[in-house]
């Protein structure tokens, strides 16, 4: 079943075509990746899908619903969450408060004026921290976390929204090899066990080929190749443009 359908999406910044006629489809339960060199338009693509940028033309359909150019909060409420490339967390709040905020928003409890927040969403927040491997840092101020833990928290916040579709923008950027492995194993588990549909971007080829079941190669805003890791690996255009330089 199709969960996401993108039709001929376009976005230009001044004269620069950041997204050029991109059509893309995802089925429920997929774990896929978008790859491409820096400036290929990966982040812009995510930004268009999540309402951060407005598309110039084209359509985005989520579960058959046209969500093109909806504001970010509405898209998030539908069940699309994202984790950012540069960890985008609440630096002055504790790790626990960070994930609780996402859970409270998901439970639509943020207009509650009179119940102390510390009494709400307790078990959900604790469980989520455990899943993300952050329990021991629960009461640490997020700004004091290590880079890797900040990225994990970023992912945990996205999961707090209980999404059906999850976008991860370079989820392992800045992580050590071990942290990368742990994070990607978690991503895989989320996909397998919780049937979360996940799309991620990545420039570490080992990660991409090790975890994604379908790859899409983006170059100068356009899709130039698509298919299983093996297919993409043997695709000549893709090799020339991207893999030739890096892998």
């Amino acid at each position: 079943m199709t969960i996401l359908k993108v039709e001929r999406l376009n976005k230009a910044f001044g004269g620069l075509l950041a997204t050029c006629n991109v059509s893309y489809e995802m089925q429920i339960g997929e774990l896929s990746a978008i790859i491409g060199p820096n400036g290929a338009g990966k982040s812009t693509f995510f930004n268009l899908l999540t309402g951060y940028h407005r598309a110039d033309s084209g359509r985005v359909l989520f579960q058959g619903k046209n969500i093109t150019n909806w504001p970010p909060h509405k898209i998030a409420r539908l069940g699309i969450a994202r984790a950012f490339q540069v960890s985008n967390i609440y630096l002055a709040l504790t790790t626990y408060e960070n994930v609780r905020q996402a859970i409270l928003a998901q439970q639509k409890k943020t207009l509650n004026f009179f119940t102390p927040a510390h009494r709400l969403a307790k078990s959900e927040a604790e469980k989520l921290l455990e899943v993300a491997g952050l329990s021991r840092h629960a009461h640490m101020v997020a700004g004091n976390l290590s880079q890797g833990d900040k990225k994990r928290l970023e992912l945990a916040i996205a999961l707090g929204s209980k999404p059906e579709l999850l976008f991860l923008d370079e989820p392992t950027a800045g992580m050590s090899r071990e942290e990368t492995y742990e994070t990607m194993s978690l991503v895989k588990r989320l996909n397998r066990e919780m049937h979360l549909t996940i799309l991620f971007t990545e420039h570490d080829m080992a990660v991409v080929f090790g975890y994604a079941r379908r790859l899409t190669v983006l170059h100068q805003g356009s899709i130039i190749a698509e298919g299983s890791p093996e297919e993409v690996r043997s695709n000549e255009t893709a090799q020339k443009i991207y893999l030739g330089e890096d892998a």
Partner: protein, 321 residues
């Protein structure tokens, strides 16, 4: 609750105050409470939401005029006047806030100030309704509140009740949503929160508390003047909050104690009040950037400031995990 042991002695002292000091200082204490509530409402926008409003006197003034006009022209009982003050200020905050929450940072500050000045000039010019620059005279509180100490207890009751409500709001999911908007508005959008709408709600609630504070002022002074809405008056809660500390719940109230007391004390023997407060502000900004409460918190770790400024507190607590 052991963290709040210090509230007990303070409450007893505050209750006994009128028995211990002369009438002049009771008047000062009433002013501390009223302006403290005003500054606390300002800090809902400044400290919690992270936006500097420089037009908060507008809602203080609307509240003052609502109660003042009702007491002068009708026989409505004071508690109802105060409720009307809150609603009236809330309506103005809704209309003005609708435009202001589209901006952040310096543009938010300028826009709130511009709307505040607009309101000031309307009140200043509208002689037939507001009394113009003559203000409103003869705002007499009901018989049972004529004495200074009676009005003190009445104000204390209202202000404490308001602070309790504000405390609950600050600890509620809504309060944490305000912190999350202050910390990272973009992130907050992507977890499904309509940031503008929440900012507007907070703006209205803060305006209502400012209106309540304003309502208490008229019967206390027996008169009000349009200057209450002027931008000087908007600066008062800014000063108080900077002195007391914006990142702790009670910061603005502590700022009001210091500011209002100093004002009463200093103007008793010199006319150089602006110079004095200027020096105080410079001292605070240079040597205690977190205000008095920030200083007390880093030294004593009390006063319930943990949730808003967790950096110093939590980092030391968690080093041994």
């Amino acid at each position: 609750m052991m963290r709040y042991w210090w509230l007990g002695p303070i409450l007893i002292a505050v209750l006994l105050l009128p028995l211990l000091i002369g009438e002049f200082w009771v008047h000062v204490a009433i002013e501390i409470l009223i302006l403290g509530l005003f500054a606390m409402s300002f800090n809902m926008i400044f400290g919690y939401m992270g936006q500097l409003t420089f037009g908060h006197a507008a809602y203080f003034g609307v509240g003052a005029y609502a109660t003042g006009l009702l007491l002068v022209k009708t026989a409505v009982p004071l508690p109802i006047c105060l409720a009307v003050s809150m609603v009236a200020a809330g309506i103005f905050a809704l209309i003005i806030g609708y435009f202001c929450v589209r901006m952040t940072g310096i543009y938010f500050a300028i826009l709130t100030m511009a709307f505040g000045q607009l309101l000031y000039y309307i009140i200043f010019q509208w002689y037939s309704f507001t009394g113009g620059d003559d203000g409103l005279q003869g705002i007499v509180p009901p018989e049972w509140l004529i004495s200074a100490s009676a009005y003190y207890y009445f104000t204390l009751f209202i202000v404490v009740a308001a602070l309790i409500v504000m405390w609950f709001i600050s600890e509620s999911p809504f309060g944490y949503t305000m912190r999350s908007i202050r910390e990272n508005a973009d992130r907050t959008r992507f977890i499904g929160i309509n940031v503008r709408q929440y900012m507007l709600i907070n703006f209205v609630v803060a305006g209502m508390f400012a209106g309540l504070a304003g309502g208490l002022l008229g019967p206390f002074n027996r008169s009000i003047a349009p200057d209450l809405c002027n931008w000087h008056q908007s600066g008062v809660p800014v000063f108080m909050t900077v002195i007391g500390g914006p990142l702790g719940f009670f910061g603005p109230m502590i700022g009001s104690v210091i500011y209002t007391f100093l004002f009463a004390f200093v103007t008793g023997f010199t006319e150089y009040w602006p110079l004095t407060i200027g020096l105080v502000i410079i001292f605070v900004v240079l040597f205690m950037p977190g205000g008095v409460l920030g200083l007390a918190q880093s030294k004593l770790k009390i006063m319930g400031a943990k949730d808003l400024a967790p950096e110093e507190q939590e980092s030391t607590d968690t080093e041994t995990y």
